[in-house]
């Protein structure tokens, strides 16, 4: 993980903010680009053996073994109301930590780590699907695509999703 040696303004280090630059790990889900603050990402894994958990909420895809720790696999597609993944498609995992527990987000592809100036961060348009707005803080308009910033906390807050 590269760290910019820029001084000052490190008030939101945990969210990958360095100076007025924010770093994001980018990934695709169903063709859409998403970004997660780089410092909240613990690991990026290739295809894993995922053990199913019966009776679990639909978002929970199962659990996987990450070097002796049990990681709960979450499929954001369910939260976003996207169609389930094709069986043949590759699955990658982005491991994040939330309240001391590890979660792995199942995604399609991992892209590069992008450094983006915080000035370019924008609010989500009001017309965005409520399910999408629910898990995202805002977006970046990049030259060739839109990058939606995923809010891990909200994504993993299940009580809210059930109530919504």
């Amino acid at each position: 993980m590269s760290t910019s040696n820029k001084s000052g303004g490190g008030d939101k280090i945990a969210e990958g903010k360095v100076g007025d630059q924010l770093e994001y790990v980018t990934m695709t889900i169903n063709g859409q680009w998403f970004g997660i603050p780089v410092l909240s990402v613990q690991d990026v894994l290739g295809p894993q053996k995922i053990a199913m958990i019966p009776l679990a909420p639909p978002e929970v895809a199962g659990s996987l073994n990450l070097r002796g720790r049990i990681v709960t696999a979450i499929d954001p597609r369910m939260r976003l109301g996207l169609p389930p993944r094709d069986e043949n498609e590759t699955v990658m995992s982005v491991v994040v930590e939330h309240l001391g527990e590890l979660y792995s987000l199942l995604i399609d592809q991992v892209g590069e780590v992008l450094k983006l100036p915080s000035s370019r961060f924008e609010q989500n348009p009001a017309s965005l699907d409520a399910r999408w707005r629910d898990i995202s803080t805002g977006l970046y308009r990049l030259d060739d695509r839109l990058l939606i910033v995923m809010d891990i906390e909200r994504l993993l807050n299940f009580d809210k999703s059930i109530a919504a």
């Binding site: 009776l55 679990a56 929970v60 073994n65 002796g68 709960t72 309240l99 979660y103 299940f158």
Partner: protein, 833 residues
């Protein structure tokens, strides 16, 4: 400090040191309590005594023995001071003391006291240091050096650190298991030997770390003697607490968790268990009641037995309470064994204490105890003998971190079941000794003399293909499991071996799935869920297995679902078998024909101190002179009647769907039961034959009408509910039953749909009038006809009923009137609409 020295000396046999310290302590104690004024003289003497102690210590260090000689002088001085204490201290004494002390006596004395303390501390510290420098000192003789050596061998370690160590060791165990699995079966592997060694070391390390977490159970008991003492004073009982096996060690995590439940149970034993002095004397028991706590290891568990020699559990009180609180129904109680009734004290919200004392009966009952114990994978069992006392046995695992578990497979997924709850394994297949049988769609297994309810793991977890029918030909395994005293079987596809697993909590979002207690990583690196047998039993009970009485009672709010009713099938004369709802039957008896007497031209038999009338179920049936007859006993309000039948055939649980409305008296209709046309008898007909006034004392209701109208029947007596159900069904109503006004309201609120409501008037809680008023206020039920049933049918009663909102008001004893009232009310409604 002086006290410590004294104590240690007494212990180690150093009389001189002990004597001096003892007297010095007396004096210091009196200073502290204010019994004795601190005077310069006395301080001097104390300091002298300290010097004396120091010198004795010096001798000890050198010679490891107390020096010869006597300390009489200093002891006498100290005594003199100590004895001058007490209330007799005169004003003069005090004045003299003040004078002798300097201008600020307070400060001075304070300082002196501090000096004394400081000196003492120093003396002992010196002694310790020097003692430590002489490792050769014999521990038995050299008190302080020995103490200091031990002190140096103990270190304080934070619990966090130990927890972390434990976690790391757990991981190590997992990795070891993983390696072992990889090498297993390869005899010539070069890693085999070192791995073997690693395995041994790991096991020892694991045991060692576990030991650091072990604490004697006595720690959790420390407060109990005091609690018992306070209780015995408060309750004016004499209670002796015996504690056996305080040294038994268990994991401190477990210890913390059982501490409160244990305290609660001990209180209970003393409060509810041990009788008052008078009662004990009357029963010829020793005055002093005994509560015994006993802890011992057994297998990988610790058993804690708590027994008292008190009154035992009052079965009648438990029954009454259970019914009052609605934990069970009257009919359920009838079928329960004493053992099962005793278990009721573990039901939520249950407390037999007649009134709330400061000691117990505050609503935090045994259910909390049970829940807490079960939370840590333990069980509570209870056995009680009336008049002789009760014994609780708590069985808990030694540790929570690593458990031994049985690995099973269902629908290609593996799960772990903690070994503690597995009793045995049974292989079942079409051609094997054991076969899974279906009882009303619920799988059961005949195991030895018992019928074991089964839970299919795949079905409970909703995994694998939807199997409508359980395939009982293929090979399956049944894991017989026990939760408390409830045994059940878990159907799994395969059983693997047992494995030591490290329990890890599941992620927060899955905590409310009741059937898992955690998850773990197996030796091969795969993750499996750990099943919680408590949760499985609960899930299983919900989905399939319920007792017969449950089935009858639970149909109250099944809106349209197929309800099953437990029926007793018997034969009587020729023709179709007959059946009666089991809930109506009090018991089945066989009586000697010669015991049957004739009274007033009717057969009667002496039964439980009463004359019980007998009724033939078949016209023209005669009683033989010899042999036995089977009778079905119906009973209510201390009155019983016996129905003479030819043979009791079976008890079946089936959907009661009365098809033909029979004309024959005593037959409510016919239904297909167990594949055979069966006459459902009208128990009411026989009851009135036996007692013409049977219905006048209690509420009843009957129905009539053509179409299948939905009818809500409210009555607090399960007997009459069950009596009327077949009648109303026969009259074409779709009957839903409620046992109380409150229950009826709940059913109405939960969206049940009814064309007519029939309600008893006299009910505990919400009575019939209240119910009618409530319905009239509700828009949905404003128009619904409500028919009241009552034993009182005076004009005044009618008026009151109409005021409350009843459409009609009929006498309980008049069944025809009820049926016509029902149809009239409905017709009126139809016209109005």
């Amino acid at each position: 400090m002086v006290h410590t020295i004294k104590g240690t000396c007494g212990f180690l046999g150093l009389p001189r040191l002990g004597a001096v310290a003892h007297v010095a302590e007396d004096v210091l104690g009196k200073f502290r309590d204010g019994d004795l004024q601190v005077t310069p003289d006395s301080v001097t003497v104390i300091l002298e005594s300290l010097d004396c102690i120091k010198s004795l210590l010096g001798h000890l260090e050198e010679s490891e023995k107390e020096p010869e000689g006597s300390d009489e002088e200093i002891i006498a001085k100290l005594r003199a001071i100590a004895d001058s204490a007490g209330p007799e201290t005169t004003l003069d004494d005090m004045e003299a003391a003040f004078e002798a002390a300097s201008v600020k006596p307070q400060e001075e004395t304070m300082t002196s006291a501090q000096t004394v303390q400081a000196e003492l501390d120093k003396a002992v510290a010196d002694a310790k240091r020097e003692g430590a420098a002489k490792p050769a000192a014999a521990a038995t003789e050299a008190a302080l050096p020995a103490e200091s050596k031990i002190a140096n061998q103990n270190i304080r370690v934070g619990v966090d650190l130990l927890e972390h160590l434990m976690t790391m060791v757990s991981e190590l165990v997992l990795t070891r298991n993983q390696l072992l699995q990889m090498v297993r079966g390869q005899t010539d592997n070069e890693f085999a030997a070192p791995l073997n060694r690693l395995s041994h070391v790991t096991t020892e390390l694991q045991e060692g770390v576990m030991k650091t977490r072990m604490q004697p159970i006595g720690k959790a008991w420390a407060k109990l003697p005091r609690i018992i003492r306070d209780l015995s004073i408060e309750l004016d009982k004499k209670i002796n607490l015996k504690m056996i096996g305080e040294d038994t060690e268990l994991d401190r995590q477990v210890l913390e968790l059982i501490k409160d439940p244990l305290t609660h149970m001990v209180r209970n034993s003393a409060d509810h268990g041990i009788e008052s002095l008078e009662v004990r004397q009357a029963a010829g028991k020793p005055d002093i009641g005994t509560v015994t706590l006993k802890a011992y290891h057994e297998g990988g568990h610790i058993n804690i037995e708590l027994s008292d020699d008190g009154a035992g559990i009052n079965m009648e009180a438990v029954k009454k309470k259970a019914m009052d609180t609605g934990v069970v129904t009257e009919s359920q109680l009838e079928t329960m064994t004493d053992q099962q009734i005793q278990q009721l004290i573990f039901a939520p919200g249950f407390s037999t204490a007649a009134e709330v004392t400061s000691v117990s009966g505050r609503g935090v009952g045994m259910d909390v105890v049970k829940t807490n114990v079960e939370k840590i994978g333990g069980t509570v069992e209870l056995s009680s003998v009336a008049g002789e006392g009760s014994t609780f046995v708590i069985k808990i695992p030694l540790t929570l971190a690593i458990v031994s578990a049985l690995i099973v497979e269902a629908s290609d997924q593996r799960f772990a079941i903690p070994q503690i709850s597995v009793i045995e394994l049974v292989r079942a297949a079409g051609n094997a000794e054991h076969t899974v049988e279906m009882l009303n769609d619920a799988p059961v297994l005949r195991l030895r003399d018992r019928l074991l309810p089964l839970v299919s793991l795949s079905q409970v977890l909703r995994i694998g293909e939807e199997q409508g029918e359980f395939d009982n030909e293929s090979e399956t395994f049944i894991v017989v499991s026990q939760v408390g005293t409830y045994s059940f079987g878990i159907i799994v596809d395969r059983v693997f071996d047992t494995e030591e697993i490290v329990v890890k909590p599941v992620a927060p979002m899955m905590r409310d799935i009741g059937v898992f207690s955690g998850n773990t990583i197996l030796g091969d690196g795969s993750i499996v869920m750990i099943l919680d047998p408590n949760g499985l039993a609960a899930a299983g009970a919900k989905s399939s297995v319920g007792s017969a009485a449950d089935a009858v009672d639970e149909d109250t709010n099944a809106a349209g679902g197929e309800e099953t009713t437990a029926l007793l099938v018997f034969t009587s004369g020729a023709g179709a078998p007959r059946a009666v709802p089991l809930a109506l039957v009090a018991r089945l008896e066989e009586i000697e024909c010669k015991d049957i007497e004739i009274s007033d031209g009717k057969p009667v038999v002496q039964y439980r101190g009463q004359l019980m009338p007998l009724v033939h179920s078949q016209e023209g049936q005669t009683i033989e002179d010899e042999g036995k007859v089977s009778i079905v006993v119906f009973s209510e309000d201390n009155r019983s009647m016996g129905l003479i039948v030819d043979e009791i055939v079976d008890i079946v649980d089936d959907v009661l769907n009365i098809e033909i409305n029979a004309d024959q008296p005593g037959i409510a209709g016919s239904a297909i039961i167990d594949g055979k046309a069966t006459d459902i008898i009208d128990a009411g007909y026989y009851l009135t034959q036996a007692f013409t006034d049977w219905f006048q004392s209690k509420a009843t209701r009957q129905s009539a009408d053509g179409k299948s109208k939905r009818l809500l029947l409210v009555d607090d007596s399960p007997f009459f509910r069950n009596l009327l159900k077949p009648l109303l069904s026969a009259a074409g109503y779709d009957v839903t039953m409620a046992g109380s006004g409150d229950e009826a309201l709940a059913i109405l609120d939960s969206g049940g749909d009814f064309d007519i409501i029939v309600s008893d008037i006299e009910m505990p809680g919400t009575n019939g009038f209240d119910l009618a008023r409530a319905c009239r206020k509700d828009d949905r039920w404003k128009e619904t006809p409500i028919v009241a049933l009552s034993a009182h049918t005076t004009k005044l009663d009618f008026e009151r009923g109409r005021e409350a909102g009843f459409t009609d008001y009929v006498s309980k004893s008049d069944r025809d009137a009820l049926l016509s009232a029902l149809s009239q009310s409905l017709t009126m409604m139809g016209d109005a609409a």
